[in-house]
C-alpha cells in the first residue's frame, strides 16, 4: 500500500566501528510485532553473515512484513486490508589494509510497490584506529502502484516511478578511554511519483460540507540530516548513550530527534537496557488537515507523515548470553527480548472518523507496542 522503507543499514558500516576489521560472523533470527493505530505488522527477519576469506565477508538477509491495516486513513477512504511485503538482500564487505569496501543490493516487493536499491560505501580507519571515516552512496528505483477493488477482485495499476539518490558521510572517533563519538551526515534526493495514491486531501465545498480530492505533492524532494552520537563507559560496568539528529527537507519539514539509553550488565549472562526517544517535526508547507476550497493550492496533502506531530518512545530490553556445547562451531549465542511503547500525538491532523463539524473534530493520537524477540549466534 503506502511506500515503505527499504533499509540497507543491515549491512552498513556503522559509526561504532573503530578498527579496520570485518564484521563478526553471526546469524540473527528475529520476530517483530507492531500493534498500534489500527495496524498490526508482524514477521521474521533472518540475517546470516560469514567471512569466506580473511578479507571478504558476505551477508544475506530476508525480511517479511505481514500487514493488517485498519488505520484511520484506510477507514476514512477505503476498506481494511491485509498484505505482505518481502525483502531480500545480499552484500559483501572487502577489507584491504585499513580500508573496507562494501557493496550490496536490496529488493523489496509488495503487491503495489516494488523497490530496488543498490549501495556502495568505503570506510577508512586512521590515527591508530582512533578515527574511522566512511562515505557511502545509495541508488534506489521504485515502482508505485495502486490496488483497485472491484467485484471482490483486486487488480494493481502502476501509477508511477520514483528514483532515489543518497549520499552519506560518517565519522567515528575515540575521544577518551571511556568515550566514543559518532557524527553522521546524509543527503537524500528523490524524484518521480513521491506520494501515496491512497491518501486524499480534504476541503470545504461551497455548501460548507467536507469533501475529498486526490492529493498532489511535488515530484522532487531533497532532505539533509545530521546527527551526533555519544557513548560513555561508566565505572561500574555500564554504558550511557545519547544522540541528537536534525533533519530538514525541501518540503519544509524540520525535525528534531533526541534519544538516550542505559545498558547495565547485571551478571555475566544477563544484560538489561532502557531507552527513551523523543521526535518532533513541523508540517510540510503544502500540508493541511482541511483546505478552504477545492484545488486551493498547486500542491495539497493530508498525509499525516507530513503533519506537525511529536512522538515519545520508551523502551526496555533484556539479553541472555549462553554458550551452547553443541554444535561446537557456535562460539556463543544470545536470546533477546525488547519492548518499546510509542505515543504519537498530532497537532494538526484530526480524527474525522469521530465526526463533528469543522473545528470540533478531535486531534488524532494513538499508542503502539513494538515487540522484538530474537536469537543470535556467533561462529
Amino acid at each position: 500500500m503506502r511506500p515503505r522503507t527499504v533499509t540497507a543499514a543491515l549491512f552498513a558500516l556503522t559509526a561504532a566501528s573503530h578498527a579496520a576489521v570485518l564484521p563478526d560472523d553471526r546469524a540473527d533470527l528475529l520476530w517483530h510485532d507492531w500493534d498500534g493505530g489500527g495496524v498490526t505488522v508482524q514477521g521474521p527477519s533472518i540475517l546470516v553473515r560469514k567471512s569466506v576469506t580473511d578479507s571478504l565477508s558476505l551477508a544475506a538477509n530476508y525480511y517479511v512484513d505481514m500487514i493488517s491495516s485498519a488505520s484511520v486513513d484506510v477507514l476514512s477512504t477505503a476498506s481494511p486490508y491485509k498484505e505482505t511485503r518481502k525483502q531480500g538482500s545480499l552484500s559483501a564487505d572487502y577489507l584491504h589494509g585499513n580500508t573496507t569496501y562494501s557493496l550490496g543490493y536490496i529488493e523489496s516487493k509488495e503487491p503495489d510497490y516494488v523497490a530496488k536499491t543498490g549501495f556502495f560505501s568505503i570506510s577508512e580507519s586512521m590515527f591508530g584506529d582512533l578515527t574511522t571515516v566512511s562515505f557511502g552512496y545509495t541508488r534506489g528505483w521504485d515502482r508505485v502502484g495502486e490496488d483497485l477493488h472491484q467485484n471482490g477482485l483486486v487488480s494493481t495499476v502502476w501509477v508511477g516511478d520514483a528514483d532515489h539518490r543518497n549520499w552519506q558521510a560518517s565519522l567515528s572517533q575515540i575521544l577518551t578511554r571511556n568515550l566514543l563519538l559518532g557524527v553522521n551526515f546524509e543527503t537524500d534526493e528523490s524524484d518521480g511519483y513521491l506520494q501515496s495514491p491512497y491518501r486524499s486531501a480534504r476541503y470545504v465545498n461551497p455548501e460548507g460540507l467536507v469533501q475529498t480530492e486526490p492529493q498532489v505533492t511535488p515530484n522532487t524532494r531533497t532532505g539533509n540530516a545530521g546527527s551526533l552520537q555519544l557513548k560513555y563507559y561508566l565505572p561500574w560496568h555500564a554504558a550511557l548513550d545519547g544522540n541528537y539528529r536534525l533533519y530538514h527537507d525541501t518540503w519544509g519539514i524540520l525535525a528534531h530527534t533526541v534519544g538516550a539509553g542505559y545498558t547495565q550488565p547485571v551478571s555475566t549472562d544477563w544484560t538489561l537496557r532502557g531507552s527513551v526517544r523523543y521526535y518532533r517535526q513541523n508540517a510540510a508547507t503544502f500540508y493541511s488537515d482541511l483546505f478552504p476550497f477545492e484545488d486551493s493550492q498547486n500542491f495539497m496533502s493530508r498525509d499525516r507523515e507530513l503533519a506537525q506531530f511529536h512522538d515519545l518512545t520508551l523502551g526496555v530490553g533484556a539479553s541472555w548470553l549462553f554458550h551452547p556445547g553443541w554444535p561446537r562451531w557456535i562460539e556463543k549465542g544470545t536470546l533477546n527480548l525488547s519492548y518499546n511503547r510509542l505515543h504519537i500525538a498530532y497537532d494538526d491532523f484530526h480524527n474525522w472518523l469521530v465526526g463533528g463539524p469543522p473545528g470540533g473534530v478531535p486531534l488524532y493520537a494513538y499508542d503502539a507496542s513494538v515487540t522484538q524477540f530474537f536469537i543470535s549466534f556467533w561462529y
Binding site: P3, R4, T5, V6, T7, A8, A9, L10, A12, L13, T14, A15, H18, D28, L30, L47, S102, G104, S108, T117, S123, D129, L130, S134, G136, T138, G140, A162, N166, Q168, S170, I174, R177, N178, L180, G182, S190, G223, A225, S227, Q229, K231, Y233, A239, D241, N243, Y247, D249, T257, P265, Y279, Q281, E305, D311, N336, S338, V370, Q372, F374, S376
Partner: protein
C-alpha cells in the same frame, strides 16, 4: 623588556611550540592497551544490527525525517 613584551613573547613561544608539535605525526592519545572499556560489547553503537535496523524502519515509515542514524548505506524506497 617590558612586562607587555614578555607577555607577547610568551604568546609567540606558545604558538610556535604548538605549531612545531603540529608538524610531528599525530600520536594516538588513547593507546591500544587503554581501550579495554571501549572493546566491551556494551559500548557498541549498533550491537544488534537486525533489531536496530527494524526499529529505524518503524520510525522512518511513520515520521517525515530519515537518515543519519549512524549507518552508511541506508537506502530508502519510501517517500
Amino acid at each position: 623588556m617590558t612586562r607587555r613584551g614578555v607577555g607577547l613573547l610568551a604568546v609567540v613561544a606558545t604558538v610556535a611550540a604548538g605549531l612545531l608539535c603540529g608538524c610531528s605525526p599525530l600520536q594516538p592519545w588513547v593507546k591500544p592497551y587503554e581501550r579495554e572499556h571501549l572493546a566491551d560489547p556494551i559500548m557498541s553503537f549498533d550491537p544488534n544490527p537486525v533489531s536496530d535496523t527494524y526499529l529505524d524502519h518503524v520510525f522512518e515509515v511513520r515520521e517525515g525525517a530519515r537518515g543519519a542514524t549512524g549507518s552508511v548505506g541506508g537506502g530508502c524506497g519510501c517517500n
